[in-house]
Symmetry: C2
């Protein structure tokens, strides 16, 4: 039986409104609203005030919300533009994966932890949360800039690399060591998925396009785009990657059709409705009380390493493009989010890491998530935002 | 913990796509797509093939979907237009409540059932499912016609009357007879709610409007409209009415602002995404196998009475406006939906009715839901649809 509609609606209303009210307060303080939405979750959520304990329904809406945040972000990027930044984005991603992993691994070993704990913390430090960065860049109307597209492209590549590392961690948990066969299969799947999305999927959509425009269903093109977004998200989740990667690729596939099919306002409607549930639950999962002196110190060091390693690793490939771009890309890659939390959860549930290591990863996720948006906003201040143009119009002018 | 994203996405994809595919097939057969979406639920749902057993998440999305179907419907109707048809709509509603209730009650008594069973079947025959009619009228681009507005207005009034009858039924279940004090309170609440929505709410929105337009949040007016839709839906559910009544009133309140705030495409985006879950679950709740000879006969008679009583009761007040309008309004009021199913559920769960009586009500809901849309479509065929105009533009010309 479905839940009581009264309870369901009260929960949806309180989560939605509290996230948006704190978001509005942050906007007025010149901080990104997404930060306020996360803070609402931290403060009102189960680990602090405990006024709102999100139900499974809200966590599910949050998952769907994350998918639409990435679908919207993908819609704003034309595949041609991503291909143009693809080489640079790949360099950014690889350097930004290797450095955080090595620094995290080395620090945990120096601290006296075992190899499993060290590998686990290193893996959690890898994957950038593209949803948060994408939202900040959208708030700033910067999604169509080259810098933003390098960040989003690199975040896509490094989510895939992060998933591979997660497979190693999960392998450690099950067999005492990484299962190389499984790892190889996953790496092959991820590569094939990315290649399919970049090259085959746009052709398929081009082929079905005349058929879509002859369907009798109202808003048929929008319905087809939604169905394919759900399909690609499920496919990505099924082969062991994050669902949001599939959603992002689905957005890329439809980016060229967005203006003609008028997809943007309708997808925006869904994203605006569901995204606050995603950001609220990111906050609601953080327990600030598990930190004692020793754990807190390690958490602070790991957080600093997570920040510095991404800025250096991801910024370095852009040294030829001026310091502002080095720092914009570096800081844009700093926030860790859902992937780090999934790694943390896998480690804890399979018993290969201690509660304290789990707390360190959660703290690092919180710090990087909270610190990147205001700095990112500051760094992009110099750039003139195309305020009175739609993002698509700005993109055409690039 | 949230559900497995892989499972969640597979379920969302299969429900969404199967509903839309059968809907498209129906459109091509010149039948309303909503009928196909319901049929997908019946056939694939747990009571027939059993390929898709909707989870609580899908039932919750369905509840939210019903809210957005009504919110969208409300947005298309200006309160001034509803006030203009209010008197006629009220006559249609009252006659369309009294006649089905009396006929249902009388038939069940003649059949030899007890008073509780008879009251219960009568109550379930009362409330029109405005969601289905609204969707059919929207598909036909007829929402802005006077006939459509009488139907929607009458459905609003008769949902309120249906809720009062539900209170009587619930009262019978608890105390052995209707609790008049409770009934009186509920009647007062419902009346106060309707008056507040018709007269006070638009003034409040007019007052806060300048503030809304100065908010820093992106798409602030849309966010405020969503928040108020959730609030009104929750309020309606809390005082014992159907949540969708609150959503419909919220739509009415914002109807005047929809063009300026560009609400329609963004709300449409949410509705198009969530409505298929609502219509699919309407189908998935129907168990066609509980019908044996005797029950089937009673179910057919009750269904016929449900159809005839609404056509006569609701059509009669329009005798002065020509036969086509008599039948359009009469048939438009025929489909019973969520309210009848809620009445059925209350009766079954509280033990005042037998399984067979429950099955009769579910059958009647199915028949009226399935039969009305094609007939409605046929009856509206003569009217010239303003195909190349937006519904708002058509409304302005009325």
């Amino acid at each position: 039986m479905p839940p009581n509609p009264e309870q369901l609606l009260l929960e949806l209303f309180t989560v939605f409104v509290s996230a948006k009210v704190v978001g509005e307060a942050f906007e007025r303080l010149r901080l990104p609203s997404v930060l306020g939405e996360v803070l609402a979750g931290i403060v009102l959520g189960p680990y602090a005030l405990g006024w709102i304990r999100p139900s499974n329904i809200v966590y599910s809406l949050a998952e769907v919300g994350a998918i639409f945040v990435l679908f919207s972000a993908g819609l704003e990027i034309s595949p041609r533009d991503l291909a143009r930044v693809g080489n640079k984005a790949m360099q950014v991603a690889v350097a930004g994966v290797v450095l955080p992993f090595l620094l995290g691994f080395a620090y945990m070993k120096l601290r006296g932890d075992g190899s499993s704990e060290a590998v686990f913390v290193g893996a959690a430090m890898v994957a950038t949360s593209v949803a948060i960065t994408a939202r900040v860049l959208a708030d700033l109307r910067m999604l169509s800039t080259r810098t933003a597209q390098i960040i989003l492209g690199a975040a896509v590549f490094d989510d895939i690399l992060g998933m591979l590392l997660l497979a190693v961690v999960a392998g450690l948990a099950h067999g005492g060591g990484p299962r190389w066969a499984h790892l190889l299969i996953l790496a092959g799947e991820a590569t094939a998925f990315a290649l399919f999305m970049m090259f085959a999927a746009p052709r398929i959509v081009r082929t079905i396009e005349p058929g879509v425009e002859q369907l009798s269903t109202q808003n048929a093109s929008f319905i087809v785009a939604l169905a394919i977004c759900l399909l690609f998200s499920w496919l990505a989740a099924t082969i062991g990657m994050a669902a949001i990667i599939g959603a992002f690729f689905a957005g890329l596939v439809f980016a060229d059709y967005a203006p003609r099919w008028n997809l943007a306002p309708r997808v925006t409607g869904i994203t605006e409705f569901l995204a606050p549930f995603f950001f609220f639950t990111i906050g609601a999962r953080l327990n600030l009380k598990t930190f004692t002196g020793d754990v807190l110190l390690a958490a602070i060091v790991v957080s600093l390493l997570a920040i510095v390693s991404k800025i250096i690793g991801c910024g370095a490939p852009l040294l030829g493009e001026g310091w502002p771009n080095v720092f914009r890309v570096g800081v844009g890659m700093v926030p860790r989010g859902e992937v780090a939390l999934i790694v943390a959860l896998v480690g804890l549930e399979s018993g290969i890491v201690l509660q304290s290591t789990y707390a360190i990863v959660v703290f690092m996720t919180a710090v990087t998530t909270l610190i990147a948006p205001p700095v990112l906003r500051y760094l992009f201040k110099g750039e003139i935002a195309p305020t009175h143009q739609s993002p698509r119009a700005a993109q055409v002018q690039l």
